[in-house]
Structure formats: C-alpha cells, structure tokens
C-alpha cells in the first residue's frame, strides 16, 4: 500500500514539530525516516498511524484520505520503541490481541487464531516462548514479539518507531539483518524511524533525512551519502571534516591559503567545505604544511589527526596503508584532497 503525505504540519505549543512535509512512500518499499531527535520523524510516523493528528495537510493511504480514520481503521501495524507489550499477558495473548478484539462478526474462530499466532511466533523464532510473560524475555525477544503482534492483524503498512533503539549493539545488528530478510519475504510497505545513520543506510531502500520538522533529502542510501543535498545532510551522514573557506575561481581556499581544493557547483565567496575523512590523502613530506597531531589505530582502521594552518583535519585509511606510510606523531606531511563539497554560508 502506498502512502502519500502532503503538506502535513504539526505544532506542539510554540514548537513546530512538522513544517509542511510532503512525502511519498511507495508500495512495498522499506523506507527510513532519519534525523536527530526533535526532527519530527516520530511525530510523522505517529500521524501515519493515527496516534497523532496534524494541524494541516493530508494523508492518503492507497489513494484514499485517511486523516479522518481512527487507528483501527487504517490497517497499520505499529511497533513501539519500548515495545509496549501488554505486560499482564503472555506472549501468545499479546500476539493474539489484535485478532481477539475484532467485532464478533469478523472474528476468526479460536482454533484459527491459535494457528495464526503459532505461525507468527514461528516466523519471529519465538515458538517456544508462547507462555512466557514479556518481563521474562530479553530486549531482542520482546521486540520480535512486538513485531509479531503488529503483523497479526495483517496490516497493509508496518510502522516502526526506533525499532532497535533500546537494544545493545550486537543484538541490534542481528535484528536489523533479520528485519531486512523478513521484509524481503513478505514485502509489506514499511516505514521505520531511526537516528542511527548506519542503520538507515544499511537497511532501507530509500532514506528520508529530516531536520527541524522538514525533509532535507529523499533518496537511496547511496544517493544521500554520495550526493548530500545540504550541509545538514552531509554532516549528519557519517564522519566529516568541516571548515570555513573562501571560494574563488572554482577553488576553495582553506586554512589561510594552506590548501586550495577544486569544488563543483557555483558557490562563491565565504562558504563551508566538507570532506569525508576517507577522501583526505596524507603523505609524509619533510617541510610539508601539515603536522601529525594525533594517531588512533583501532581494528582495521587508522585515524590520523593533522594540523594544517591552524585547522585540525581528520584522515581515515586502512591500517596497512597507514603502516606503510610510516608516520609518527609530530611528523610533517602534505595533505591532498581531490574534491570538496562546498555549501554557501
């Protein structure tokens, strides 16, 4: 089912959580709403579910206006950040809830409910946990129960609010992979909210980057990472070197003229230049303009901090390359950057 969001605005007191947001969620895709806290991503998700109503705008589910519909009539599955499992019910009863509260005429026979719930518990690999209470499960298990419960009502859309936010790093990665696989199997239109750029880039078909109640950019993970449309997106996605510069004749001059980098685009004058640490080349050079001011080698990567004309830059390379360069703290070096992304100040 496709979702069409047009001009959605939401105000909480004097705080504008969403500012005329337009967004199209394509049928069957896995979409990430990515942004820092306070960017409005959760509010947008809750509006889609009907848990919040916007001040203005329209929301269409499969081409039909849905803002007037109650949550129960929208056919959405919602997975809460803190799971929101019914704590006094067993895992089985949690998953069965949506089926049991249907009006009598639409309710399935008990045997059928039982069969469906068992099937879902198998799907989320919790077949043996049907009689447990939520308090007796680990975070990852609870999250999967929450997912099974949301899927039980056969929703047309699955909405997930920070689905992995409360889990530790290892479980988070496993569950992320598992969710991707699940989505590839059942192809349900899914929207998930996250503040973790790595999670969004790895998991989603398309990423929506949000900031201060507005959408900054929509695109595939590669598009938003390689071609950020704004300074905010550039800074938010991954590590970045950021410096003030003057752009003249297609060159960005940084560090009081210590370095001139070719730029694209038509920005002129005072601007901000961005360079990813792995796009920054370093070579040892006696009498070079830079000086190695910090070295951090962890795992397969090496991060080198360089002082250049009063600026501090960070370069990232693999460990082998770093070893072959043979640089030590305090060494002089030269710095070369193929290309910088420049945004007007």
């Amino acid at each position: 089912m496709a979702i069409q969001v047009s001009g959605i605005t939401k105000q909480f007191g004097s705080y504008r959580a969403l500012d005329s947001v337009d967004l199209e969620v394509r049928s069957g895709e896995l979409l990430a709403l990515l942004g820092p806290s306070g960017s409005g991503k959760t509010t947008l998700l809750r509006i889609m579910a009907g848990l919040e109503s916007p001040d203005a705008g329209s929301l269409q589910l499969n081409g039909e206006e849905a803002l007037g519909l109650k949550p129960r009539d929208r056919q959405v599955g919602f997975v809460f950040q803190h799971y929101a499992l019914f704590r006094h019910m067993t895992v089985f009863d949690n998953v069965a809830f949506g089926l049991k509260v249907r009006p009598r005429a639409q309710r399935l026979p008990n045997a059928e409910i039982k069969r469906r719930v068992s099937e879902l518990l198998e799907l989320v690999q919790l077949g043996h946990f049907a009689d447990r209470y939520p308090a007796q499960l680990s975070g990852g298990q609870r999250q999967r129960v929450a997912l099974a419960r949301a899927l039980a009502i056969e929703p047309k859309v699955l909405l997930l609010d920070e689905p992995f936010g409360a889990l530790d790093a290892k479980v988070r990665k496993e569950l992320r992979r598992w969710l991707r696989k699940l989505h590839d199997e059942i192809h349900i239109t899914s929207v998930f909210v996250t503040h973790d750029q790595e999670e969004a880039l790895e998991l989603a078909d398309r990423v929506v980057v949000m900031s201060q109640g507005r959408i900054e950019q929509i695109g595939s993970p590669a598009e938003v990472y390689d071609h950020p449309s704004s300074a905010f997106v550039y800074e938010f996605l991954g590590q970045v070197n950021r410096f003030d510069c003057m752009v003249e004749g297609g060159l960005a001059h940084i560090g009081n003229g210590a370095l001139a980098i070719p730029t694209d685009g038509d920005v002129r004058g005072a601007a901000i230049a961005y360079v990813r640490p792995h796009d920054l080349g370093v070579t040892p050079a006696v009498g070079g303009p830079g000086r190695v001011s910090g070295i951090h080698v962890v795992g397969p990567d090496a991060r080198v901090e360089i002082e250049l004309g009063g600026l501090f830059l960070e370069a990232e390379m693999d460990r082998e390359r770093f070893t072959s360069l043979g640089m030590a703290l305090g060494d002089s070096c030269s710095v070369h950057i193929d290309r910088a992304r420049v945004f007007a100040r």
């Binding site: 129960r72 809460f80 929101a84 019914f86 006094h88 509260v101 308090a135 039980a152």
Partner: protein, 284 residues
C-alpha cells in the same frame, strides 16, 4: 578478607542493628499492639456472655448494618470516581489538570469536622438548598444520605491517589498499541488498562473501605446521633463510652478492629499470593 571488610563497611555494627530493631519493635508494641490488645481485653472483661450481649443489642446491630450500608455505597462510588479521575490525569493532557489534582487532595487537607459542617450548611434546614430539599420530602442531614455524602467526601482521594502515580508510570504506550491493533475504547480499558492497575486499585479500595467504616469526625457532624437510625459504629462506640458502658463500647470497637485486621490480612495474603505478578505490573 576484602569481601568481609566491604560487607561490614556497608552495614552498621551488630549492637546498632539490634538497638534499631528493638526500638522499632518497642514502638510498634506500645502504639499499635498494646491498644489493640486493650480493646479486646476491655471488651471481654465481663466474659464472653457480656461481650455477646453487647454485640447483639438492637442498636449495636443497627450501627453495624448502617456502617456496612454506608461503606457499600461510598466505596463503589469512590472506586468509579477514582478510576475515572486517575485515567484522566494520567493518560490525557488538558487545561486545569493541576487544579483537578489539587481538588482530589482536598479531603486530605481539610479537617473532617469541617467537611461535615459544610454539608450541614449546604443541606441543613437553614442551609443553602436544605429548605428546597425539605419541600421535596428529601432529608439529607441527620439521615443516611448525609452519612453517605460525608463518607464519600472524606474517602474521596484514596483510590485516585493510589492509581495516579501507578498509571503515570505505566504511560500510554500500551493503550496506544491496543488502539492500533483495533481495540475500541472500552476494550482497551477492560483488557489493557484495568488489568495493569488491578493491584493498585485493590489496595486503594481496601484503604478506602477501612477509612469509610472508621470515619468519625465528618459523620459525627451530619449524623445527629439518632440511635438505631443514624449511628454508625464509631459513633455508637462514643455514645456507649460516654454512658460509661465500657464493655459494650469496647465490644463494638473490637468489631471495628477486626474489620481492620481482616482488611490487612486480605491485603497481605494477596501480596503474598500474587507478589510476582504485582511486581511485573509495576516495572517494565
């Protein structure tokens, strides 16, 4: 060695612990146990026969009956009100919420005698709406309705006060989950909210009930002390005591004390029986 030294560093010396425990026990014995024992001892001073005679006295039976009636009306009323009020306060944001919370606490801060007096001023013969009610043939003051009203007022906060923090802590996510899953408002209440608060609710009701049966001040003002008609147990105890009928006074008092004990035992038994479940509803 480090383990033992850290253990002793975290606890007080043995003599200190014993002193604290002994103080607490002595205090309990002096202020709780001794009066309780005294009630029963005084009641049985002239033997079981006299005790029984005092209890089956017509006025005493009427007082017990009236107390039970008043509690049977006041407690359910405050149960409904308490759940409704805490549901509003904990699950919704609205203008005037703080005022509502303050109002709920009012009966705790006002002396019961004053609250009784207010009812007299409102519903009494010289009161604001008393003459009108009198013309309709409705009597509130010096009658059962007055007793019920005064008791409801005084026991107003017990259920709500117990539930509001519990419901606030539990938040609204489970209710939201139920709504998205297709449950209606009532279904959400009966299947999700109520089971989550049932232990807090029960506790609030027990406290409310204990107070409803034991209330003296407010009830005393509106009652008029008409024997066999508007005398609840606490009032009856006072009358008997003032008449130097000590055995009868303590006999009725012992029934009140037993009601309190039953309440306490019921509460402890429930906590013991359902302790794990109780803990589960309090913590996520």
């Amino acid at each position: 060695m480090p383990a033992s030294s850290s253990a002793s560093a975290l606890s007080d010396p043995a003599w200190m612990r014993r002193l604290l425990i002994a103080t607490a026990l002595a205090f309990l014995a002096l202020f709780l146990l001794l009066p309780l024992v005294a009630v029963f001892a005084e009641a049985l001073r002239r033997g079981v026969g006299a005790y029984w005679t005092a209890l089956v006295d017509e006025d005493a039976l009427e007082a017990i009956k009236l107390t039970l009636i008043v509690a049977a009306i006041a407690v359910p009323a405050n149960l409904v009100f308490g759940v409704a009020a805490s549901w509003c306060v904990a699950k919704f944001d609205f203008y005037g919420k703080n005022l509502l919370i303050t109002l709920i606490d009012l009966p705790f801060s006002v002396s019961p005698v004053i609250s009784g007096l207010i009812y007299v001023l409102l519903f009494g013969l010289n009161g604001a709406i008393g003459p009108f009610l009198k013309a309709q043939g409705i009597q509130i003051i010096f009658a059962v309705p007055g007793l019920v009203l005064a008791t409801i007022f005084v026991t107003f906060p017990f259920v709500a006060r117990e539930l509001i923090p519990l419901m606030q802590e539990q938040g609204t996510e489970e209710e939201e989950a139920a709504l998205v899953l297709g449950a209606g408002g009532w279904q959400t209440f009966w299947r999700v909210t109520l089971p989550n608060i049932k232990w807090g609710l029960l506790y609030g009701v027990l406290l409310c009930n204990a107070r409803a049966m034991g209330e003296f001040g407010a009830v005393s003002v509106v009652s008029g002390h008409i024997r066999g008609y508007t005398n609840t147990m606490p009032l009856h105890v006072e009358i008997l005591y003032n008449e130097y009928n000590f055995v009868a006074a303590f006999a009725v008092a012992s029934v009140l004390a037993m009601l309190a004990l039953v309440t306490l035992v019921a509460k402890s038994a429930l906590e013991w029986r359902f302790g794990a479940e109780l803990a589960a509803t309090r913590h996520k």
